[in-house]
Symmetry: C2
Subunit: 330 residues, 2 copies
C-alpha cells in the first residue's frame, strides 16, 4: 500500500505538503498541488484511517446499535442510515445488542478506542447513567428509542399519538371491546409506555373501560401472535378488535384467526404497527401505523454529522410524523 511518504517522494515534495493537499489546507501553490494530485493518482494512494485515528482524527465511521437486524423495522432503519452515511462519506459499523446489556456496552466501547466517531442507538438496554458515561468518548444519538432525562439528541416519533390514532380508529369503527398487545410491559414506566398511554387515552375519551384480560405484554414474533389468538379464542368474553405493537404479531394473530375459522375484520379487527412489507402481503391487508423509517435514518445521520463537526452543538430533539394507514383488516 502506498503511503504519504511514497507520494511525497514521487512528487518531489515533503510529506507536509502532501498532507496539506489531502486535507484541503490553504497555502499550497497550484503547481505543487497538481504535482501531488498526480502522484496520488499514479500510486492509487488512500490515506490510512488507522494512522489518522491514532492521530486523534475523525474515523468517518459511525456505529449503529440495533436489537436485531432481522427485524424488518430495524433492517430498513439500518438501510436508510447506511445510505445516508455513505453519501456523506461515512462508514457504518453495525452491532446487534440482542437486548443484552453486555453486548450493548461492548459496542459502546468502540467509542473509547476511537473506532467510531459516534454511535446511533436505536434501542437502550443499560441504565441511562451507564450509557451517558460514554458521552465523554464520542457522540451518542438516540433514534427511535429515547429517555427523558437525556442530554443527547433524539430522533423520535410520537408513539403515544400512533397508538392513539390506531385505537381511536377502532373505536370509530364501532368497537368497544378492544384488546391490546405490546412488545413491552403495561407499566407507567418502561418499554412501550408511550403507546400504552395512547391506548388508554383513546379508550378514556370514549368512556370505555380497560379489560385487563385483554392486555398482552412482551409479544414480539409471528409465533407470539398465534399464541395470543389461541388465548383469545378460549375466552368467554372475547374482544372484537385488537391493537398490536408490531405488524409481525398482528400477522400471527391474523393467520391463526383464519386457521381457527374466524373472519378478519368482521369477527376480529386487527391493527398493526410499523407498516412493514408484510402489512400488504397479509390477506386481508393490514391496517397499521406507519413509522417514517427513511426519514429517521436520514435525520439521524444529518444530526450526527453536525454534532461531530461542531461538538458544541446545542442538543435538540426531533419528532417525526407518524400516521395511520387504513387497509382491510379493520
Amino acid at each position: 500500500m502506498a503511503t504519504i511518504s511514497d507520494v511525497a517522494k514521487l512528487s518531489g515534495l515533503s510529506k507536509t505538503t502532501v498532507s496539506r493537499v489531502i486535507n484541503n489546507h490553504p497555502y499550497v501553490s497550484d503547481k505543487k498541488r497538481e504535482l501531488v494530485l498526480n502522484a496520488m493518482k499514479e500510486l492509487g494512494y488512500t490515506p490510512n484511517p488507522s494512522a489518522r485515528r491514532l492521530r486523534g482524527q475523525l474515523t468517518t465511521t459511525i456505529g449503529v446499535i440495533v436489537p436485531r437486524i432481522v427485524n424488518p423495522f430495524f433492517s430498513y432503519l439500518v438501510n436508510s442510515i447506511e445510505q445516508a452515511a455513505y453519501k456523506m462519506g461515512y462508514q457504518v459499523l453495525i452491532g446487534q445488542s440482542y437486548e443484552d446489556k453486555e453486548k450493548e456496552l461492548a459496542f459502546l466501547n468502540l467509542l473509547k478506542t476511537k473506532q467510531v466517531d459516534g454511535i446511533i442507538m436505536t434501542s437502550i438496554e443499560n441504565d441511562w447513567d451507564m450509557i451517558e458515561s460514554y458521552k465523554e468518548y464520542g457522540s451518542i444519538l438516540l433514534c427511535n428509542d429515547y429517555v427523558n432525562q437525556s442530554e443527547v439528541p433524539m430522533i423520535r416519533l410520537d408513539q403515544t399519538k400512533g397508538a392513539y390514532l390506531g385505537v381511536k380508529h377502532l373505536i370509530e369503527k364501532g368497537h368497544k371491546k378492544i384488546a391490546y398487545c405490546t412488545g413491552g410491559l403495561f407499566d407507567e414506566q418502561g418499554k412501550g409506555k408511550d403507546r400504552n398511554q395512547g391506548f388508554q387515552k383513546a379508550l378514556h375519551e370514549a368512556g370505555i373501560k380497560i379489560n385487563p384480560k385483554w392486555i398482552f405484554v412482551d409479544q414480539h414474533t409471528i409465533e407470539d401472535g398465534k399464541q395470543v389468538m389461541k388465548q383469545i379464542l378460549e375466552m368467554e368474553d372475547r374482544p372484537t378488535a385488537i391493537f398490536t405493537g408490531s405488524d409481525e404479531v398482528a400477522g400471527g394473530i391474523m393467520i391463526q384467526a383464519k386457521e381457527l375459522g374466524l373472519t378478519v375484520p368482521s369477527d376480529l379487527a386487527i391493527i398493526g404497527f410499523d407498516d412493514q412489507p408484510i402489512a400488504e402481503i397479509l390477506d386481508p391487508k393490514l391496517t397499521t401505523i406507519r413509522q417514517p423509517v427513511d426519514l429517521m435514518g436520514e435525520k439521524s445521520i444529518e444530526v450526527m454529522i453536525e454534532m461531530l463537526e461542531n461538538p458544541k452543538l446545542e442538543i435538540q430533539n426531533y419528532e417525526l410524523p407518524i400516521e395511520l394507514i387504513v387497509r382491510q383488516s379493520t
Copy 2:
C-alpha cells in the same frame, strides 16, 4: 483513555512487559503479570485497535458486503454472520453494494488500509479479476455467490439442485405448463445460471419443452411479482404453475392472482425460493426452497477465521444442503 504507558507507569514496569502480558507472551514472572493485570483493571485499560492496526496487527474486524440489507435473505445471513463473529470476538462491518460496482470497490478498499482483516462477499458485482487483485491486501471469502475460476474459499449452495427439486415437484403434481421467474437472466452464463440449469434439467427429463413466453427475467420484488401475474393473465395460453427465484416475487404473484380472482394452487401453483418468513404468512402458505442461512453464516466465519490465523490454508469450497419445503401453494 488509558494507554499502555499509563499501565506501565502505574505498575512500575516497562511498556514491553505490559505488552507481553496483554498478548500472552511467555517470559513474564507471575508476580509482575499480576501487577500489570491489576493496573489494567484499575485504569479500565483497553488496547487501542488503531495503534494495533498501524503496527500491522489484526483488526478483529470482518467486513461483509451484501447487495441490500432489507432483503430478508441477506438480513438473516448478516445476522448469523454477526452472531458467529461476536462469539469469536470479531466485529462486523457491513456494506451495502446496491449492486453497484463502485460501492463494492469502495468497500474492498477497507482491506488495503487494514480496516478489516477480511471480507465476506455475499454477492459479486465487479469482474473477478478486479476483485481478486484485492486478495493481496487481506482475505476474501465468497458466501452465497460464487465464481468458477476462483482461488478463494466459497460457501455455497447447490442452486441447480434447488431449482431442479422445485420444478420436479411441480411436474410430479401433474403440471406441464410451467413458467419460470428469475432474479437474473436466462443465459448460459451470468446471474442465476445454475437455477436456470436446474429448471431446464427437470423439464428436459420430463420431456417438456420450454415456452419462452413463460420466462420472466430480472424480477426481484413483490411489485415485480404482481406485474408478472398481470402479464400471465393476458396470455391466451397460460401456464398452470410458476417457479420463482424468490419468495417475495412469489408473494407478489400470489397476491395479484387472488386479486384477479384466481385460486392458488388450483388455477396457478406457485413455488418460491429462500423460505423467508413471508412464506408462512402468505395464504395459502408458500411451497419454497429453503436455504440454510444460519449454517452459511457460521461456516463463513469459521472458515474466514481459519484463513486469518493460517494464511497458508488450503483453499476449500463448501457446499451446504438445500431442500424443498412443501406447503399449500402447489
